[in-house]
Each structure stands twice: as structure tokens, then as C-alpha cells.
């Protein structure tokens, strides 16, 4: 079969961050093509390039023999390429039929919407895929899975040749997933191509014809889906050259007699289910889970950022009642924000304000800030983290990602915590800053601080942690200690097939 879309040596960088490096593969007409890779492997960027939402920095994209010169969703629409994003773009206040045909000329002569024709059109489309959804039902009354399916149906039409699905099953239950996979199969039967991204390896194996594996923004391999096993894919997703950076720490300084921090039976409103864990003194404990596993929800609950539905937190033996961030800090726990563009920094305030924010009261006398103390503390932490800035009066907005990350880390450590909950400590920073950040975290643990690392980067967890807890479907599904911690073992647990 001819190639519908071909990527030739595509690279893409966002500032200093290289998201894609020399990626070449093709999507054939009438195939289901899966993109597989860890978080940050470059799947989203690849999809966006194929969809025309972003132009590659280097390389070219050929669609049906024609090299693209302009990258815009409008051009892609004309070429028959559509995409369903993870965040649904639906109109909750409209009916299913109206959502299915927002731009269809189903008006009658007076210019009003011809509701009958609209519903017939929708029914036909729904029947095509054996879906039992009434066309005049309000969108808001559907389940997330049904909404997802309606949105996919909307993107399907005669002229569509390629449909890109970004993690379409991440919020679906088993039955809905089945319906969706059937839908994908019927699309293929009609000769349409599907580019499909999922973390769930069993699904990928079930429906794809070919699988392209990306890792760290690089193209690894495109495999024919014949006789492949989960293990084959896991190994290709994670199997990397462990350089100096990723060498495992030799010995653990954890004192397993002293529990520094723990959670008992913590459940969340968002679905997190009965999580119990202990963090030992001087330990580096990793928590790994793919998107939707509940790991990020857990991290917020552990710091009192969200109110748990049940369960307690304790620092050493003391239970923290109704935890709030302030109480957690007072108890000796601090928190590194997972996403510095959202929270964790005061971007337009001086570094001094940022670094000393958690300890302002301690640096004050009779409610007045002692400016020399603020200055000294800021300087000490900025030196300790080797923050490269124009001065303590400059703002984080003017710094590089790596330095912003260091400012956040400095702020987390000014209260001199016994426990640090660290989220994505090296998100979007370059290799040098990454190594530095890892060194600092290990240094902390060696000095007796307990460190909990929530990270979506397996190599990071492998090189840092004494112990790793793996989450899936809102609960802890496994624990890896010492040499058991490998990327393969963690990924196998996290992407495990059955939902228990």
C-alpha cells in the first residue's frame, strides 16, 4: 500500500529543549499505526507535526506524495487529516446530533436548522458503528467514554484519510475501550488510516498494524505487529544507553527503623483508592505511574493541597489532622511543584521573594521583614544551588528552565524540611541541570532528609531511588527495592494489562 504520510528526518526544538530528533517513519493508507513511548518521548510533538499544528524545525512532511510547505490545521483539514485531542472539544449544552454535525448544511429553506435531517444524519453515523446513543440526547448526559466516541465520530467523514487519536482510552472503562477499539477497526475496514497513541501496551498490540517506538525524542524503530510481546515493546520503550547520568546509586543511606512520613488508607475524591505507604528516614522513595494512574493526585493529597476523602497522614509518629500545606510545612514537609509554569514560582517577583516565601515569618521580627536576613538566606540558597541570574533582584521569568527549577528547589529547602515531596524535579531542563538536580537530591538524602520523588521519567527514578512504588488504576500495584528497580520492571507494573 502507498504511504499516506511520510516524516523525513523531522526535528523539532522548543527553545533549548529538543523535543524531536531526526524522526522518520511513514503511515500507510488503511493502517492502524501506534505511537509508543514514555512520557516526554516526543509522541505529542510527532502528532502535532503530522496534524500540521506545529512546523518541524528541520526535515519535511510528505502527505500523499506532496511535501508540505505550510503547517496549519486548515491545510491538514484539506488533506483529510483530523485529530482528536485528549482534552475533548465538545459542546456540552448541545445535543449529540448537533455535536456530530456542527458545520453540516442541514438547514431548511427558511434558514433554520432542519432538526429532522440533522437527527437522521446523526443516527446514520451512530448506526454505522452500532452505537446506542440517541441523537437528541444532551451531550452533558453522556459518560466520558461516550463523549469521546462522539467526538471521534465527528471527525470522521468521507474526505478524512487519517485520524489521529491522542490517548483516546485513557479515561475509558473496559467496555468503552472495547467499543472504541471496534470503532477503530471499522475505520480501518473503510480504508482510513489511524494514528493512535496509548500508554496501554495490550491495546496497542490488539489493534495496531504497525508500531513506531520513540524514546527521548528519537525514532527507535517501526515494527510490524506480528508475534510481538509486551516485553518486546517495554524493552524498546525504555532500553536506553545508561550513561554516567543514569548510573544507579551504589548504596542506600535509608534508616528503615525510622518512618519519617507516611500515609494510611488515603483515598481521594478524584478516584485514588486506599493508599498506604511509609517513607523512611534518609530514603529516596520513587513513585511511578503513567498518566491517570493516580500518582499526581496522591502527591497533592500527601501535602494537604487537596482534601482527602479518607485516610490520615503522619510525620514521624504524629498524625497531622486536616492537613493543609501550612501544617505540613510546620510538621517538616515541603513540596516541589510538578509544573513550574502553573505554580511553584512567583514569576514576576524577585528571587529573594521566591526563595524566602516559605520562611518569611521566621525571617521577621515583630511582623517586620528583616531585610538583611532575607538577603543572606536568599544568597546562601542561591549559591548552594548555583542559580545563574543577574542578581537576587531579578525575576524567575528572566531565567532558564533549569535555573527556575533550582529557584523552586531552593524555596522548598529554606524551611529546612525533614521530608521533601518532589514532583518531576527535572521537567524541561537540560542534561546538565538534570545531573545537578539529581546530585542535590542524593546529597539531601545522605544528610538524613527523606525524599519522595514523583516522576514520569523512569531513568531518573532508577538512578535516584532506593525504592520505587508503582501505581496503576488509582492504587499501588507494586514495590521495587534496590536492584529490582529497572525500567522494564517498573514499566511492566505500570502498564500491566488487566485492571484489577
Amino acid at each position: 500500500m502507498p504511504d499516506l504520510v511520510e516524516l523525513r528526518h523531522v526535528s523539532k526544538s522548543y527553545g533549548p529543549v529538543q523535543a524531536l530528533k531526526d524522526v522518520s517513519f511513514s503511515i500507510r493508507a488503511g493502517e492502524v499505526h501506534a505511537l509508543l513511548g514514555e512520557n516526554g518521548a516526543g509522541k505529542s510533538t510527532t502528532m502535532r507535526v503530522v496534524r500540521g499544528e506545529t512546523a518541524p524545525s528541520k526535515g519535511e512532511v510528505v502527505v500523499a506524495g506532496q511535501t508540505l510547505t505550510r503547517f496549519s490545521p486548515a491545510v491538514s483539514d484539506d488533506l483529510g487529516i483530523a485529530m482528536v485531542h485528549q482534552e475533548l472539544a465538545i459542546f456540552n449544552g448541545l445535543t449529540v446530533a448537533e455535536n456530530l454535525a456542527p458545520d453540516l448544511p442541514t438547514r431548511n429553506r427558511a434558514g433554520f436548522v432542519n432538526r429532522k435531517a440533522l437527527n437522521e444524519f446523526a443516527t446514520a453515523k451512530l448506526n454505522l458503528f452500532n452505537l446506542i446513543i440517541a441523537p437528541d440526547q444532551l451531550m452533558s448526559s453522556l459518560t466520558t467514554g461516550q463523549k469521546q466516541i462522539v467526538e471521534i465520530l465527528r471527525t470522521i467523514s468521507e474526505s478524512r484519510r487519517l485520524i489521529i487519536l491522542d490517548e483516546p482510552t485513557s479515561s475509558l472503562n473496559a467496555q468503552e475501550t472495547e467499543t472504541l477499539l471496534d470503532l477503530i477497526k471499522s475505520l480501518r475496514a473503510e480504508g482510513k488510516s489511524v494514528l493512535f497513541v496509548s500508554h496501554r501496551i495490550p491495546e496497542v498490540l490488539e489493534i495496531s498494524d504497525r508500531i513506531t517506538v520513540l524514546r527521548d525524542g528519537e525514532y527507535i524503530e517501526t515494527l510490524e505487529n506480528a508475534g510481538l510481546t509486551e516485553a518486546d515493546l517495554v524493552q524498546r520503550m525504555v532500553g536506553r544507553d545508561m550513561g554516567e547520568l543514569h548510573r544507579r546509586r551504589a548504596s542506600s543511606g535509608a534508616n528503615r527503623d525510622i518512618v519519617a512520613f507516611g500515609a494510611k488508607g488515603v483515598s481521594g475524591v478524584g478516584g485514588l483508592n486506599d493508599v498506604t505507604l511509609d517513607l523512611y528516614q534518609g530514603e529516596v522513595l520513587g513513585v511511578f505511574g503513567l498518566e491517570g494512574s493516580g500518582a499526581s493526585e496522591l502527591s497533592r493529597l500527601l501535602f494537604g493541597l487537596d482534601v482527602p476523602a479518607a485516610g490520615t497522614l503522619h510525620v514521624k509518629e504524629n498524625v497531622v489532622p486536616n492537613p493543609t500545606p501550612l501544617k505540613m510545612i510546620d510538621a517538616g514537609v515541603t513540596y516541589l511543584s510538578p509544573d513550574r509554569s502553573e505554580s511553584g514560582l512567583f514569576k514576576y517577583r524577585a528571587l529573594t521573594d521566591n526563595i524566602t516565601a516559605p520562611v518569611l515569618s521566621r525571617l521577621s521580627r515583630m511582623g517586620l521583614i528583616r531585610r538583611t536576613k532575607v538577603q543572606d538566606t536568599s544568597r546562601a540558597y542561591s549559591d548552594r544551588f548555583e542559580i545563574k541570574a543577574g542578581g537576587l533582584a531579578s525575576t524567575p521569568a528572566s531565567l532558564s528552565g533549569g535555573n527556575q527549577q533550582k529557584v523552586m528547589m531552593a524555596a522548598c529547602l529554606t524551611p529546612d524540611p525533614d521530608v521533601v515531596i518532589v514532583n518531576e524535579p527535572t521537567r524541561g531542563v537540560d542534561v546538565g541541570a538534570k545531573a545537578e538536580m539529581h546530585r542535590k537530591l542524593i546529597e539531601l538524602a545522605e544528610n538524613g532528609t527523606s525524599v519522595m520523588v514523583f516522576s514520569s521519567e523512569l531513568p531518573e527514578l532508577v538512578s535516584l531511588c532506593d525504592r520505587v512504588i508503582v501505581m496503576r488504576s488509582n492504587r499501588i500495584v507494586g514495590e521495587l527495592i534496590g536492584d529490582e528497580i529497572t525500567e522494564d520492571s517498573a514499566m511492566t507494573l505500570a502498564a500491566g494489562s488487566a485492571v484489577h
Binding site: P325, D330, S343, F346, A357, P358
Partner: protein
Amino acid sequence: MAATDQSMSVPFNLRGFAASGGILVAAVLLLFVFLAVTKAQFSAYNNLYSLAFALSIDAIAIFGFTYVMVLGEIDLSVGAVYALAGTLTGWLLKVGGLDLYPAIVLALCVATAVGFANGFLVTRFKVNSLMLTIGTLILVQGVVGVLATDLVGGVYPRDFRLLAKTRWFGINATIIVAGFALAVLVFLQLRSSLFRKMYLVGENSETARIYGIRTDAFKLWAFVASAFFAGVGGVLTASRLTHASTDMGVGLEFTYVTAAILGGASLYGGRGGVGGSVLGLLFLALILNGLVMYNVNPLAQQVAIGVLLICAVLVDMIINKKEGA
């Protein structure tokens, strides 16, 4: 610490200049000089003194309101609460038969309770403060209307009428109180850890929460302060007006938003201060004073305020856009 190239070239910084009030100070000075040169009656002692007197009362009333804006919220009920405190004091004196100070204290308590209700609803139920305080505004204005109708036709008792005219060291006490409070607040803005935290909450409340700052408590107390200071301003204004009026405080919230934004506050929070807000009020007062001197139709004066608010909001947007880039 190593210096990087980022610090090397700082060209004209719009945000820095605007935030530091440079534009506003320059505008106030220009306007002042222009009026002084073109209109002799402007620089007459009586005119300047009455400007200062009126400004002092508005200044007190805008203190708390400014901090609500610093926190990224807004309190549009400020004018209604101002009217409530003033009218209720008069009502308690004339209808309730209370003495002056108990009446004032009670009226301020009621005003403050309105602020507490605003703050409570905003922090507990995450109600949008813009919409909520429009509701409070309408509700409180209704109450003021009822009270004012009761008082129609008469003036307030003498001791209440004389309150705003109280003089210390030969000048109106309100000027001294406003000036002193302004100095204290500006000092606290610069030095107090509590005020520093307030600015951090306004800049990014989620970040502030992560660093152990009780963001909701700040917002709650800012609404309380907004109502309290508006109440004080209202009591003084009622005393100055000498009789009840259903028009009292109507539209004041828009004047205050304009003044605060002119003074460097932002609808997005994290910026501004009482110094800027009072300067903003002064600017507006000079404009109105100038328009009166040039015999501009009083109804047309509103046009000027509208234009200024639009300009101020535009500048606010442009600054934020620059930051977003």
C-alpha cells in the same frame, strides 16, 4: 553568583515604570502645573484645601478596596457599603435614638459584616467576586434606599454633622488620619511580612499555598478591611453631606477601580498599593476640578472618567500581555 547576559540590557521597562507609578506621578504633576498656570482660582488656598479634604475621605475609603485588588479579587460593593455605614449611622441617631459613638460603632460593625459575608462566600464557595459583589451592591443599595426614605427631609443631628469638620492643629482631622494611615500602610507594604505574603497570594495563589501561606484567610480579611474602610469613609461623608441621600456612594466603585488601576493595581492581582490608589484618586480629583473650572457640563465629566478607566485597563492588559510572552 554569575551574571548572565540577561541582566545586561534593560531598555525602557514599561511594567517597571508603570508599577512604580512613574507615569501617574508625571501626569499628576503636569495636570497640576497646567491648572495652576491656566486657572488662577485653581491654586487658591480654598480650592486646594477642599480638594485635600475631599481626597482624605476617599483615601481612607479606598485602602481596603486596594488590597482586595492586590489579591486578584474585586469588591464592587464598596460604594454601597460606604453609603450603608453613613446612612445607618444617621438612622440610628434619628430613628434609633442612639448616641453618636455607639451609632458609629454599630454601623461600622454592620458594614464590616457585609465585607465578611463577601469574603466568606468568595473563599468558601469560590464564588467569582465580581459577580458576587454586584449582588451585594444591589442588595445593600436597597437597604440604603429604605433607610434614606425614613430620613427624608431632615438633617442629621448636630454632633454627627460636625464630625467630619473635627480639626486638630488647625486642619481637618480626616487629612491627618488619612495621611498617617497612608504612611503606615505604605511602610507595611514595604516591610511587613504579612503584606509581603499578601502580594505573593495576589501574584500566584496556588504557589503561595504551596509555600504555606493561608491564601483564603488573606482574601477573607481583605474583604473585611475593604468594607470597614469604606464604612469609615461613608460615615465621614454622611457627616459632611449633613443629610441622607439615596444617591450616596452610587458609582463610587467605578471611581475606585479606575483610581486603583491608574495607581498600578491590576485586575490580575499581585500589584498596586494604597500609595498608587490615592495618587489615582488625586489624579481623578484634579481632572474633575479642572473640568469644573473650564465650565464643562457636569454630565459630560462622566465621559472623562470612562475614558480614563478604559485607558487604564488597556495599559493593564498590555502589561500583562508583555508578561505572558
